[in-house]
């Protein structure tokens, strides 16, 4: 039993400790403490300025070569796990990577600032930023949300004046708001009601509040790290990421569901074949689901990567690259030959 005097002494000790901590402790919102700094706070990061924001972005290869635009998942993911595909630059392509608005290491914005029109315009301006000519061919390679984003662009802009020559779509979730609702019904909850994963996420709410982007992004990482069992990703080879964008991850789907969307209305007019690559094991996106999405395009093919889940694009890079190279040859997007004709 603690003596009354000891108990009485607790209050000032705790008070002193807490008072000291308010000045000497780390700032959870400080750049680089919980999560890496974005382009706003780290001047060493490659960036572009488009459409009133600053995006973490970089490109590899000859700027005059056919452009491949890599689109990460999420919303709110980043391109870290797609970087192995910069090897396409060695093939003779100009490979563009960017973290979407509010995602990865790009600048953060308040939730109220997001709009659908703005998000699509970001995409268009990224293309223009990296374009060396108005006739430079473009192929999109998008994963998950990135595959949806690519489809959204194609539905709105078609082949963009003859420039978009194809798309490789890795496991898109939905092309309509109804499809997104159905997808979320399959996806959520990602863990069982009594699972340790859900328990850990909910219990962590007591320790930190997502009242700032850094804290929100860190807490999003706590949710993302355990993975979703129904996606059947390889636990021994998890996809890396830099920093989730918690605000945009919540806001963009909410906008989509609230406003409704249908990105299939003009897909049949797209004049090029679209390649769908899917992981065999992902329960959330079975073959029939991907075939249904592919059917909206005039020409498409669905290839299943055996023994892989949702993150097949990370886990099976050589297999993906093989399919991508064959597809680029099929749609006639030839790499730029280097001097001496050596690719």
């Amino acid at each position: 039993m603690m003596k009354p005097a000891t108990r009485t002494a607790l209050a000032p000790v705790l008070g002193l400790a807490l008072a000291l901590c308010t000045t000497a402790c780390l700032d959870p919102d400080g750049p680089g403490n919980l999560v890496p700094a974005t382009v706003e706070d780290d001047p060493s990061l490659p960036r572009i300025e488009v459409n009133g924001t600053t995006l973490h972005a970089e490109a590899f290869g000859d700027p005059g070569a056919p452009m491949i635009v890599m689109l990460h998942g999420g919303p709110g993911g980043d391109y870290r796990s797609l970087l192995p595909y910069r090897s396409l630059a060695d093939d003779g392509y100009y490979v563009v990577f960017w973290d979407h608005r509010g995602a990865g290491l790009s600048k953060r914005h308040p939730a109220s600032s997001y709009g659908f029109g703005q998000y699509l315009e970001d995409f268009r301006q990224v293309i223009e930023h990296f374009s060396s000519s108005s006739s430079q061919p473009i192929v999109f390679i998008g994963h998950s949300w990135g595959a949806m984003y690519a489809t959204w662009f194609i539905n709105e802009h078609g082949d963009y004046g003859g420039r978009v020559a194809g798309a490789v779509l890795s496991e898109p979730g939905a092309f309509t708001s109804q499809g997104l609702e159905d997808y979320f019904d399959r996806l959520f909850p990602p863990w069982g009601f009594t699972s340790e994963e859900l328990n850990d996420v909910a219990w962590s709410d007591q320790f930190m509040s997502p009242s700032d982007h850094a804290r929100a992004d860190f807490m999003q990482a706590i949710k993302v790290l355990p993975g979703a069992p129904k996606e059947h990703n390889d636990p021994n080879n998890p996809a890396p990421f830099w920093r989730p964008g918690a605000v945009v991850n919540a806001k963009l789907p909410q906008l989509g569901l609230d406003q409704g969307f249908d990105w299939t209305t003009h897909l049949a007019e797209f004049p090029h074949k679209v390649l769908f690559l899917r992981g065999e094991l992902n329960e959330n996106m079975p073959l029939a689901h991907q075939q249904e999405l592919a059917s909206h395009y005039a020409s498409s093919e669905v290839i299943t990567v055996a023994g892989a889940g949702h993150e097949a694009i990370w886990e099976r890079q050589s297999e993906f690259l093989s399919h991508i190279r064959a597809y680029l040859a099929e749609v006639g997007v030839a790499p730029m030959l280097r001097l001496g004709g050596v690719r």
Binding site: M2, N33, F193, D200, P240
Partner: protein, 224 residues
Amino acid sequence: MRRLGTAASVLLALAAATKAPAQELNLANTSTARPRIVEARTGLDHALLGEVGYRHVLAWQDRQVFVGGAVAVPWARADLGDYRVRATVGLPLGTEHWKLAGWLSPTLRGTQNAASRMTALGVDSRLTGGYYARRWFVAGEVGLDWVATTHIAFRDAYRTRVYAGAKDGWYRLPGGTAYAGLHGGVSFSSFDLVLRAGHPRTTALEQQTVPFYLTAGVNVTLPP
């Protein structure tokens, strides 16, 4: 700084272990003549949890003062890395049946998740008010479960897969939980059967992962 924080954590845990709270008591029946009350709770409060506690009724001038403590652990999966330890002092005021009470609970929490191990120090401040009869009671509650500082030790999985430069240490003013709800119960013999439900938000009033709390429990007043 870390040593000071750790020392404070240990002191707080010791305090909670020697005295022990849930604030769902039938204040019409509490008495300094039977000052020892043990309690047990289960339900959903940030997680599926179980909680046990002890409360002692003291006399202060002509009023009752409650001191006590409780230990809660999530029970969905046995994980000793997740816990909550509280010491509580409470002071009720009012008439025979209508009472308003203020409660202060220094709180120590721990958790292990996929990204980190976290330990938090803070204070839960709660105001309860309601009607208390011999056989039943019902009361409203509002509170702020404020976290003064959280120590974070990042796990290797986070450093290798996400951010190698994450800084271990005590983080100041990381947030907390604001909440409002109702509780009540029925009383017979030496027992209160109690229910508590409400809605939690972050201290900035954002939604939390589990948007409600709902617990049930029992208080047992021990013989003198």
